[in-house]
Amino acid sequence: MATRSACLIAGGMSKWGVREASLVDMTQEAAKACLDDIPALNHKDIDGLLYATSYAGRCSFQTNTAPVMAERMGLRPTSICARVDVLCAGGSAGILLAKGLVESGMADIVMVAGGEKLYTPQRWEVFYSELASIDHDWDAPNGLGLPPPFFALVATEHMKQYGTGTAYVV
């Protein structure tokens, strides 16, 4: 049983959409909104950063994202500074990791940030890029590369098994 408890105490977001902004720009916007949400917190007291992103490196020309983002957000983490990549679930994985770090005493105040810049290098490549997320030796050659057709199969199966109609799916 943990002797320390972890709390989620603040949060902020950048503007979301198809942006004419870099991953760094949007991360700075989100960090500013997050820190504005908790005025008593001095950013110098944040001792950990977890940064959740999957397509940095593929879509935005930026790897080693956590140290880069720490610098550009004005943070100097001394407990942990690392990237988390679990595609769509990177953010919640970061929250769980931060909980563990805080409860164990390894860190006191962790910022969990994350972001994606997807419509690059060219806009149409966003779909092509999604193929990077699956096992290239197995599912990719069989055409199961993108989520929309996969979840269409899931919907069809639910309708077949349980009689769910499209009225409930839509």
Partner: protein, 194 residues
């Protein structure tokens, strides 16, 4: 890219964006804010397969890996599905939420469509879900989505959400990834686990 029976508006948009949250130990949290504290009571992340041939369920609408993650998260948080006052579920597609409410235990298996249709997941319903709009409305910048969900759950428990669930004390966040290969659940509460 949409495929039948899903239509364009059954699919969440792919979005640019970022989000950030702060996780602090209870002692520091008390120093930093006068708002109600939101404790991260428990959570789990389950991966039982990656290649579709090793799908863990009986069929594609049976999400066994979500159940495994949910059971572990409920156990750690010492709560059950009936204790959840508000939730964020990963509605990357409309069908996702229908199956998630089943596997999270909010309704019986196979009844997710009816459960949603009857308004149980609306504001004022049994378990209001995706009160900030979810993936279908907010869009989905992959790494940032889980942070948006966590932020909304925090605001709900602090009583400052835009679409506030009155008196919410326990909140659940569900996040999946890839072609349904991984499920993450985080459970928050106004009180720490005793």
């Amino acid at each position: 890219m949409a495929r039948a029976p899903l239509t364009l508006y059954d699919c969440c948009p792919i979005t640019d964006g970022a989000a950030a949250v702060i996780v602090a130990c209870e002692e520091k949290a008390k120093e930093l804010t006068d708002r109600p504290l939101v404790y991260i009571r428990g959570g789990a992340q389950a991966v039982l397969h990656s290649v579709s041939a090793n799908w863990p369920g009986e069929h594609l609408a049976d999400w066994a890996h979500l159940r495994v993650a949910a059971e572990k998260a409920y156990q750690q948080a010492k709560v059950g599905p009936n204790d959840i006052d508000v939730a964020e579920t990963h509605d990357c597609f409309s069908i996702s939420e229908v199956i998630e409410v089943e596997e999270l235990g909010f309704c019986k298996k196979g009844e997710g469509g009816f459960f949603v249709e009857e308004g149980n997941t609306d504001l004022g319903g049994k378990v209001p879900i995706n009160t900030d709009g979810g993936l279908l409305s907010c869009g989905h910048p992959f790494g940032a989505t889980g942070l948006r969900q966590g932020m909304e759950m925090m605001k709900q428990l602090q009583g400052r959400a835009i679409h506030q669930v009155e008196g919410a004390e326990i909140a659940l966040q569900h996040n999946l990834s890839g072609c349904n290969v991984e499920h993450t659940i985080v459970i928050y509460g106004r009180e720490p686990v005793a």
